[in-house]
């Protein structure tokens, strides 16, 4: 299965977090749809050459977060409301990222008006990069 990219053990981010992020990203983009089955623990461990306990942990944590369902004897499946949950989670993370960025700019003496201008420019820049699709 080409869904997973080999995690980097030396990146500073624990392997299990990297894999969880990969699954969540796949759910957000629709590469994984509700009801899709994730690879079995052993085949995935052998494909990525990482510890199967790590993969078991990934699936457990994802179940805990409601992204997947573990069905006894069958495996792990993307849960029905996974995408909605992911988008809500992304929004929450986005909000806290925004708050901390604004805070850091303020600490450096950037005025509120300048912060707004920076934000507008960033959003517009994103729009342009996306080829004006969202204009």
């Amino acid at each position: 299965m080409t869904l997973f990219v080999r995690p980097n053990p030396s990146s500073g981010i624990p392997i299990y977090l990297q894999l969880m992020q990969q699954v969540k990203h796949a759910v957000e983009t629709g590469a994984l749809k509700p009801g899709d089955q994730l690879p079995g623990i052993r085949p995935l461990a052998e494909e990525l050459v990482i510890n199967s306990n790590t993969i078991a942990k990934v699936y457990r944590e994802l179940e805990h977060e409601g992204v997947v369902e573990l069905r006894q004897g069958s495996g792990a499946f993307v849960s029905q409301n996974a995408r909605a949950r992911r988008l809500a989670e992304t929004f929450r993370a986005g909000r806290s990222l925004m708050v901390s960025t604004v805070e850091r700019l303020r600490e450096r003496g950037v005025s509120e008006d300048e912060i707004r201008r920076l934000f507008e420019a960033a959003v517009a820049g994103g729009r342009r990069r996306a080829g004006g699709r969202n204009a």
Binding site: P9, S10, G12, E46, I50, N51
Partner: protein, 298 residues
Amino acid sequence: MPDAAVIETSGLEKTYDGVPALRGLDIHVPAGSICGLLGRNGAGKTTTLKILLGMARPTGGTARVFGAPADSPQASVEIRRRVGFVSEEKDLYGSMSVDEIIRFTATFFPRWRTDLEERFVRRFELPRDRKVKALSRGTRTKLALLLALCRGAELLLLDEPTSGLDPAMAEDVLRALVGEVADGRTTILFSSHQITEVDQIADRVAVVDRGRAVLSGPLDELKEGFRRVRLVFDGDAPVPAFRSPGVRRVRRDGAVLSLLTSGGADAVLDEARTLHPVSVDVTPLTLKEIFLETTTED
């Protein structure tokens, strides 16, 4: 079944002719885990493996495998039936062919896994008719691994299993190890200088330094505990006097103060903020850096 310890040592000591090789080693390897044994040359890794196999007797402390004392002759026989060992020497009967040595070894193990034998002969591309002494180093390692795995061993003790192997062969070996543990019937303790490999497949680590375990436990937790903290000040950095435990290697360089902390970065950060730095950067350490930090040149 809860985390039964397949290997448990407590205050393990071993002295050879007045030279202490182990000075009170405590390690714990639960069932179903892959534990990496790291340490500089001469730190005591091979001695530890020998004691676990009953090939050397401790001079103090205890070592238990499957709950039984490793130095009891009766228990040792039983232990060795359930353990597969692959060592650096990879001593195999040179004049036998691959097939002959497999057949020979199989006669000692009634639970020989012929299904695994087929699978690994194919996957490792072992030439059944070739004599062992004519095999390349990498192929000999793979053969040794096959012999250890096919006996249905519940515990594999491996001394540098990928040393001398090219990256592709090493990856084959790692893949086989990971696959065996995935079925939940096998536990692995392997010593290695390839820290990247330990990072990749181990879920536990024991770092041995001068006969003691300076670090031991789940790999993720160990890495969580270590952080590099970099503080930049407006003007010269103050002379630090950190009271938090676990602060190591503090360096002052003009406006920058950098330190390593092993456990409790939060307490260190609280102290750091009272010094009013202009910026605070916290980054993780790689396993290699942690290893270099916690072990010493003899």
